[in-house]
Amino acid sequence: MRRTLGRWSLLLSATVVLAVPQASWAQLTSFQLETWLNTPAATSHVGNITGDAKAAAVPYRRYCVGCHGVLGDGNGENAVWLDPKPRDFQQAIFKCRSTPTGTLPTDQDLFDTIARGMDRSNMPQWSTFTKEERANLVAWIKHFSPRWQNEKAGAPITIPPEPEVTPERIKAGREVFARVQCWKCHGVQGMANGPSAATLTDDLGRPIQAFNFTDGTRPKCGDTDQDIYRIFMTGLDGTPMPSFADNIKPDEAWDLVFYLRTFMAQKSKEKEMAKQLGLKPVDPNAPAGQQ
């Protein structure tokens, strides 16, 4: 009897001693994450597809682990050779979001990124996966960060229907480009040679380039008009690209999208119109509102 009591007391003290420091940890232990994987929360919802995290364990090990790592911290064995670095899923800071800066992306955002890949990086387009497989991977990615258990994804920004392109809108877009000073990094001709371009660093302190609109490559987070709208209205978290949501009105945002199109190498209606207008690059030294 006493022996049993003694054992129980020892066990109790051990539990208390071990449990107290554990409770104060903000970060979840791998055990807690493992437990979470067995709950209904370990799913993703993309359209009418429900992704199951556990189903992605094997595909992740096969296709993703080399760069993103076993722990999802972006320290896979290939990571040392890569630049930009693979995403750290533990921090859960993502460039391509439909949600405001400082919030978690939606499942759809992660799903789209997997399919789209990341231009000018080592992240390929995983369009060979079925939609179900991608949805499963989204759920798996989310299990790496305790943030998905403590926070909700942000509310996606509203993108109004795209208006008709007009020369007036392109000119108005040029005014927005000058007013919010996109040229500080992207340059007056969108060639990524603005005065601040050379000193840009990402959140890890690594040098990073501003997007060059003129070299024919695609923006990292998609190249539709809606994608470009979303990029500057949500910002690319983890990079120097800030959110302009507070400083560009939705209508002005469309004007800016049209003006940015005029820089791009690809043929477009906007490019034709700019040519006919004889638009000149903005003058960084012009007083406010006098472009």
């Binding site: 006493r2 022996r3 009591l5 003694g6 054992r7 007391s9 020892l10 109790l12 003290s13 208390v16 001693v17 107290v20 903000a26 970060q27 533990q90 921090q91 859960a92 800071i93 800066t101 400082g102 919030t103 305790p146 943030r147 403590n150 926070e151 007013r179 919010v180 000073q181 500080k184 990094c185 005065p195 601040s196 000193t199 840009l200 660093t201 959140d203 910002g235 978290d237 983890g238 990079t239 120097p240 690209m241 800030p242 959110s243 302009f244 949501a245 507070d246 400083n247 030294n285 406010a288």
Partner: protein, 244 residues
């Protein structure tokens, strides 16, 4: 065997008491009038602060034409008083949000004013711009603490950005457009103060009791001191950082 049982029982009791003390220690202190004052000094010659070349942005360059800008890692005033040191109570067990004031973080002449902004957990602060050039405000907390990084632009004339932080952390802030711009948000729990140009500080709203006051300086790290605040008698704690 009896000996073993006794030992185990004592161990269990001690552990339970410790656990209880930890929980009860969180009780909220009654509000009261008291304060902690003191001076923070630098011992030794102030290190040279490098000048900043702002020529890449003519607006910033012009703003500093007559008053060249310098880094603000160590700002020393009269008699060796150390500015921008944050003082807070490390073992604060009272409630957060003791103040309803809204600290303001201004972007002025392409520098952060103040360079170090202290605030309470959950306290709203405001980022404003006085400049005719675009800035982006980019705090870089560790998302694992519960503080999530964000990055917002402020072109000339932009409306203030109001935010707050969820957890205790020292957060670096930078502007990617002007790489010399860097500052700090020091998020603490409970009352706090920042030293003025002469290194003086006063932490208000401290109820009588014994406390550990911590002084944080961005280059020299932290120091602590034990302080007792009695009713009607402010506690004092002076700190000296060695120049490096």
């Amino acid at each position: 065997m009896r000996k073993h049982f006794n030992f185990a029982a004592v161990l269990a009791a001690v552990a339970l008491i410790c656990c209880g003390a930890l929980i009860l220690g969180q009780k909220v202190n009654a509000a009261g009038e008291g304060k902690i004052t003191g001076t923070v000094k630098l011992d030794g010659a102030a290190p040279h602060m490098k000048g900043i070349d702002m020529s890449k942005d003519p607006y910033c360059d012009k703003a500093h034409a007559s008053d060249p800008a310098h880094l603000e890692e160590v700002v020393v005033g009269a008699n060796g008083g150390l500015q921008n040191v944050v003082l807070y109570i490390a073992d604060w067990s009272g409630a957060a949000q003791t103040s309803t004031a809204i600290p303001v973080f201004d972007q002025k002449n392409c520098m952060y004013t103040p360079h170090v902004l202290a605030m309470d957990v959950g306290q709203t602060f405001k980022v404003v711009t006085s400049d005719q050039t675009t800035h982006n405000i980019h705090p870089l907390p560790n998302p694992m603490t519960g503080n999530i990084p964000w990055n917002q632009s402020q072109p000339p004339g932009a409306a203030p950005v109001e935010k707050s932080w969820k957890a205790v952390e020292v957060i670096p802030v930078k502007c990617n457009i002007h790489p010399w711009m860097n500052g700090w948000y020091v998020v603490v729990k409970g009352p706090y103060a920042t030293t003025d140009a002469s290194g003086n500080y006063t932490i208000n709203d401290v109820p009588p009791g014994s406390y550990t006051v911590t002084a944080w300086q961005e280059k020299y790290g932290t120091q602590t001191a034990k302080v007792t605040v009695a009713a009607g008698k402010p506690g004092t704690a002076d700190f000296t950082f060695k120049a490096k």
